[in-house]
Each structure stands twice: as structure tokens, then as C-alpha cells.
Symmetry: C2
Subunit: 528 residues, 2 copies
Amino acid sequence: MPTLHGKNFVAGSLTDSDRTFAATSPLDRGDLPGRFCLASLDDVEAAIQAAAAAAGLFAQTTGEARAAFLERIADEITALGDSLIERAGLETALPAARLTGERGRTVNQLRLFAALARDGSWVDARIDRAMPERQPLPRPDLRRMKRPMGPVVVFGSSNFPLAFSVAGGDTASALCTGNPVVVKAHRAHPGTSELVAGAIQRAVEACGLPAGTFSMLHGEGGVIGTALVKHPATQAVGFTGSRTAGRALCNVAAARPDPIPVFAEMSSLNPVFLLPGALADRAGEIAKGFAASMTLGVGQFCTKPGIVFGITGPHLDSFIAGLTEAITAVAPASMLSADILTAFGHGRDSLSGDAGMAVVTHSASPADAAKTQAAAIVLETDAATFLARPQLAEEVFGPFSLIVKCRSADQFGALAQRLEGQLTATVHGTDEDVATAHHLVAILATKAGRLIVNGWPTGVEVCHAMQHGGPWPATSDSRFTSVGSAALERFIRPVCYQDVPPSLLPDALKDGNPLGIMRLVEGIADRH
Amino acid sequence: MPTLHGKNFVAGSLTDSDRTFAATSPLDRGDLPGRFCLASLDDVEAAIQAAAAAAGLFAQTTGEARAAFLERIADEITALGDSLIERAGLETALPAARLTGERGRTVNQLRLFAALARDGSWVDARIDRAMPERQPLPRPDLRRMKRPMGPVVVFGSSNFPLAFSVAGGDTASALCTGNPVVVKAHRAHPGTSELVAGAIQRAVEACGLPAGTFSMLHGEGGVIGTALVKHPATQAVGFTGSRTAGRALCNVAAARPDPIPVFAEMSSLNPVFLLPGALADRAGEIAKGFAASMTLGVGQFCTKPGIVFGITGPHLDSFIAGLTEAITAVAPASMLSADILTAFGHGRDSLSGDAGMAVVTHSASPADAAKTQAAAIVLETDAATFLARPQLAEEVFGPFSLIVKCRSADQFGALAQRLEGQLTATVHGTDEDVATAHHLVAILATKAGRLIVNGWPTGVEVCHAMQHGGPWPATSDSRFTSVGSAALERFIRPVCYQDVPPSLLPDALKDGNPLGIMRLVEGIADRH
């Protein structure tokens, strides 16, 4: 394993400080090798100023140049080899197979955004040509394209130390579209962050990009994170984490003299509705799938199904029996950090101690707190209790879920209506069930960013049609996604060029379409 | 002229109250016929609840149905005939020719959004089909489209009593995409608002739409407006008005338990840069164009050029001479309201009283305060003073502009860099000037939503390529526009359908593309 320097990456330079911290192993709560320097407010200033200084040059790079940069980052991450997987495993307790898969996802995501940068059509070019003879007034020549916004601050997330962290989707989509990035590294995996930041740093140098294109700082969210969001030169923010932290960042951004957009992905129950036919046909299979989705990655997915609605009766009993069998067999496993385990325990105990709640099942083996372990647990309540007690709809991050027993499927609509915004909502049903589910699905479409039928929400495909976002508190702005090609829309803004001569027009807007991109010319989309 | 009932439009019903107000004529400051009822908080509750109740049904209407609705609104507005123009003229002091033109713009805008609704491609449908054999994991079938967000609150603007008011671009784009609308009428033109609301109301009835599709309330922004934005069922807000009011609404929305997006169009100086060759070639012509743009509509355009940068010397002197000739001849004219005249006077006096400022020219005739008249005025200062005193960059709404005298064009970059966000930025230059202006234009592209070369910013074309928006304080979110077809993007959010059977899929996402819309299938855009 390479030695970690523990320094902050400030626009091509490494800075240190007297205030350091170590990463903690969730597996034994002991310190891991390496001391990491807490960034200073001077580091914040230097990183953002360098990003602002780099923004103009970086915005003018070609799509090909940014594609090569993103591909170089992917190559550099791949070249880190086992050392990255090993360090990430030590810091997060996630198994090597999972981390290897996540690295693949991260690298593929960088390559997807490289392809988007190379294609160039993301600028959404639109041309409405002059009509000098139009009455009563002539129309000028109007051409519009999207451009980078400037420095984007990205907060690394704890639960995906690669795919939603230093070189994750936020960074990839910001860099793809020409925005410098300053990452606030997550405190739970500083060594992993350093390795990936080094990979990006080498790519910046190899591609001859301005040093301010990328920085990464270690530090507390409440100090360094807040300072990054407050900085006048910061133009947008990407965040994945808790509702409390996300709200705090949104508040900071909204209180600026010039508020800036924050895309915060925060909290979701990911409700599952079990329609009666599905439960009659395959209660056991659904129970197995649910248990697997609920405990995947120790329940530390933002899309973990945290609540399931079913109709009281023998088929729901069969589902519960199957779930009990599956959950009992789930070995307690180490969570990402002691803080997350503590929050999990608080959430679980708060809900299980609430009136009208009962424990359905939990892992048979006890959890070892010294290993930061959580046992899986499922509670149950009835629909009337759920409707009466809004606190039962709070997300518990970890291997926890709540069964809500209903009298009939007629209650599903009212229950769905009471939910807050969600990343996902899932329905299990037979063809016959589905034929009666239009009302429920229509409500869920107003609540969630992704609707799933007869599947599970925990897989989030990186593609054009993905939507990873939803109304508050799932995210801070339901009009955007943090996964998939559309994620880049968060960090770009349109500029219209009126009667601007060809010599000053960006290539994307020139006659003859020299870049060969998709454009909307007089309302018609094509590549001509 | 028809009798005005003065009531609030609450989801198809008219409500009144004991608390009433009259419209004031800016021409003589006297009360105009009609008393208008201030809406109650009960009206707010009823209007928003009805909008929420209508949202599901309205969202499910076909594009054709919404197109017919928007066209019916256009027809109903046209059918109001001269009575609308006359009442609007009395309430705003805008001349009939201007109002007739604005009505044409409003009606055309409704028809444009009708065409967009009928075409249906605004849903941005994307399909990535299942790959059941993919390793290591199969890919599910993923289909994404944009959907309406739900009740949108629209604030009528004072300066475009038709095109940015009750049936303006915010309302048209929200209705086009299936969102119910609740309008907070602007207090300065309640009769105009009532006439237009009546037109929309008749269209709702004629088209058989849910009553909650449209409501309009009279009332103070700080009471009724705030309550509308705070209401839990409100999903988005459109606003055009002052920086102070826009900021207040943004703050209210950001402080909700579930913050919602506000698109507020607020404040812009619309800077103009005069490059040396242009000034040498045609100082007189530029002066005439500038004076006309600056005083159009008594300077009450959000795109009024409020500041102009030129290089000290004989050519700038020629420009100033031409401007003086033009502005001296501008007759003082009535502003939209006494409040706006008061604010104009405060802004003008505050800036003209500032150290280092001098009056260049003003209307020769005195303004008659009893007629709410403003005289046009131009001040001047030098670049050093401007850079040292940020308060000189405050917008003064009305026929006011400031000339900033520079030593050389080399200062333009630094001056542009110091500006806040703008709706527009304009450069006048010869071909030779333009060849040296890349740096300036690059900076302006980071500051403004629309760049204009050798033209004037006050015309805002309604088309696909328009961008009417810019970084704060021009608007609250530079990623969106309030004019042009892209304005509808403010009020829609994506939903992804994963493995959803055809019977539950919206038509826009079905195999075979039954709606014939543009879709992105496996990353390829077409209508098949």
C-alpha cells in the first residue's frame, strides 16, 4: 500500500497543517495508518480562487480535451489497482467485491461523461435566424447554448467512497461541462479520497489543464464545507448525505448575498407497495428480494427500501415468514463509521420504542459494537398508527425497514399521499393487480423520481433514462438528477448570443455546425 | 368598458370581501372605476387546495387538450377587444399602441406554448431498454419523461400588464406542461388582471377542465403572496419584479420545511460597452439607439440599458452630445405607478448625490409629479469611482442611465468582472473592435444571459433560442429562462419508469412512439 501524505490538494499544490486526524477502521475502531491535515480557511480561499481563475480557460477547452481528461482520470484510478480497493476496504468496511464493482461503475461513469463531452450535444444549441423583413419588427439572429457555471463544490459521500465521492458523478458531470471542481473530502475515507484526488491531479497535469481545475480539502463540514459554499466565487454545489447536513448547506447557499443552486441528495424511504395478487402468487420470493435489497451494503444505500405496505392476511403472513427467515440469517455487519452506527441505533430505538410498533424480526446473531456492527431489523405497525404519527416516516439509514399493515389496497392511495418526496417507489403486482393500480401509480409519480414495478430500487443504472432525484427531502431540487447523463444539467446555464458575428460565436453555434452536434435550428432538431 | 366585479377568482367561484381597494390612474393619481376585494387567507387556502385537487387530472390531459385550452385563452383575450387595451391604459399609463403590441405578444406566446403542448416533445422522453443478458448484472428497462410539478404560483408583474402578468409567460408555460396556476394579481393593474382572469376562467369552463386549474387573487405581496408561497401544496413559483420582493419570496421558499424552486426575475443593469472603432464610426447613431432603448416604455423594461462604458475622448464626447440631444427632447412621461415613481426618484437622487457623479443630460421639460411623470436623466462618472463604489451598480428602474468614462478599452475587462449577474450585456464594435474583444465577451458570457452585438437589449424575442435570465440578481436561478419555449423547463421534473408494464406507462414512453414525439432512444434522438 502506498504511503499517504495526508495533505490537501490545492490547485496543484499540497498543503499541510498542524491539525490532523486519522481515519478509523470500522472493523476494530482503531486508527488506520496516515494522518490527514485539516484544511484551513486559507486553503479554502486558495482553492476557490484558483478554481475561479481556471474557470475561463477550462470553459474554453474543447469537448475532446475534456473527454481525454476524464478518460485519463479513469485510467489513473484504474492504475491505482488493489491499493485503492484495500484502503477503501479498511476505511469503509465494504467488501472488496463491492468496492471493485463500485470502482468499475466510477470509471465507466467517467467514460460516459467523456463520451458526452466529446459528442458535445449537451450544450443544447438552438438557432433562430434573423428575419430582417419581419413586420412590425425584424427579428435578430438568436443563438443559445449552455455553458459551464464556474467553480462547483462537491461533497464526498460516505456510502459510495468511489462512485459518489471525489471522482463520482458530481465531479464527472461538473468537469465534463467545463466547471472547475473543489471537493470537500468525506472524513470517513480520507485515504481513499487522497488516492483518487492524486489520480485526478495527475490527469490535470498530464492534460496540461490549469492547476485550479481541481482541488480537494479535508475538514469538517460545518467549517470547511460551509466556507466553500459561502465563498463568493462558488457557483454551484453537489452533495449526497444526510437530511440534516443537506438542509444546512441549502440554508447557507440560500442566505448568500447571491444565492447559488445546491443539488443535495438527502433522504428517502423508498416505499414498496405489495399488491394482493403478487403477494398471493409469490410472497416468499418477494420476501427474499426485499430482504436482499434492504440489507445490501448493510442497508447503506440511499435507495434502500425502508418501508413496505401490505394487506393484512395470510399472504402477508407468508411474506413476513419469508422475511423473518431471510433477515434472521443476515449476519450483523460493520457499518461505514461509528457515527453512522450511532445514528442507526438512535433511529431504530426511537421507532421501535414508539407506541404501536412491534419488532418483526432481526438478525439472529448479536451485533458486535466494537466492530461497528449493525444487526438487520424489521418493525411493523398498522396503517392507522402510521397515518397518525408522522415521525414513523423518518428514514433510518442502515439495515432497517418498517412493514405497514393495511386493511385493503384501498388504503394505499391515502398512505402514498402522506409520504414526503422519494428517490424511488416500488410496486409489486400481477398483471391483474397492475390493472387496478393506476391511481396509486399516479400518486407515486408525484412523490418519487423513479417508479419500479416488480423489481427493487437499490440498483441505480448510469444511463440516459435514469432519474436519481425526487421532491424534497429526497433531493433539494426535483428537476435534476445526480445519476445518469442528465446529471450534467445541474452545472450548466444557457447564454443567448444576439447578432454576434461568427468570429465571436462559440463553434457550437456557428453556421455549418462545425462540431456536428445535435442542434435545434428553427425548432427542428438535427445534426446538420 | 365592461363593469368590473372586483372579486377574486377562486377555482371557478368569485369571492368578495369587505376590504377593497381601487386602482389608481398614474395620469392624474385619481381612483379609477371599480373596487377590488383583497383576498383572505381562506381564499389562499381554497385556491391552492383546489389547484392541488386539480393537479392530477390536469396532468393527465392530452397535449391536444392543453393546446386547445391555451388557444382558447388567446381567443378569449383577443375577444376582450378594446376594453382590455383601454383599461390597461388607464391603469398603467402605457400608450394604446404599446399595449396592443403587448397583447399580440401575449396571445402569440399562448399560441407558441399551445404548439409546444400539441407537439409534446417537451417531456424529453428517454428510453434505455432492458439488457437481460448483460453481465455482471442485467439492465432493467428504463424510461424517463418530464412531468408537471403541481400548483405553480405566479406573481403578475407591473411593467408588462399583459405579457408578464395574469396570462403571461409564466402562466402559459406552467399551463402548457400541465400545472394548475394561482396568480397573485399585481396591485397596480387589478382591472386588467380581472379582465384577463375572466378570459382564462371562460377557457377553463369551455374546455371542461377542473375548476382548480386556475385562480387569481388580489392582495398584498407580503400577506397573500407570502401565504401562497408558504402553502404546503405549492410546488413552484414564478415572479418578475423588484430585487427586494424577489429576494423576500426566495427567502420564504427556502425557509419552508420543504423548500421549493422560485424563478424570480429581478434586477439588471444591462451594461453596454462601446468599443473605440464603433464610437469613432457612428457615435451619433449609437447615441440615438441608446437613448431610444433607455427611454422605451419610460425606462420600465427589465432589459433597459442602465449603464454604458466608453473611452474618454472626442468620440465619447460626440456620443454624449448626441445622447444629450436625444434625451433633452424626451418628454417626461407617466410611470406605471406612484410607488415606482417614488423608487425612481430615490434611486436617481441617491446616485446623483454620490461623490464623483455628474449629471450629463435630462429631459428639457419638467416632470409633472401630479401625472406621475419621470424625466429621463443620464449621469456620468469615471471608472475609478465606479470601481470604488459598489452602490453605483444598483439598478434604477426608469429612464435613467449612467455613463462610465474609462481611460482605455483595457479597463473594460476589469469593469465587466465587477458587475453582478445581468439579463443582458451589449457590445458595440466594428469588425476590428470585435477582433480584440474576445476577452471582454468571455467575461460577459459569465455575467449575462444574453449577449448582444451592435443592437439593443430591450427587445426580447419569444423563440427557442431566447434566454431571459442570468446569474443573481438578474434571476434567482441562471439555469432557467422566463421567456421563450425553454421557459417551461422551470415547472417540470423528470420521472423514471423502471420495468413498468405498457398498461401503466404514459403514452410518451410507450413502444412505437404513439405520440410521435422526439425521444432519445438508446442515446439516439428521433421521432420513431
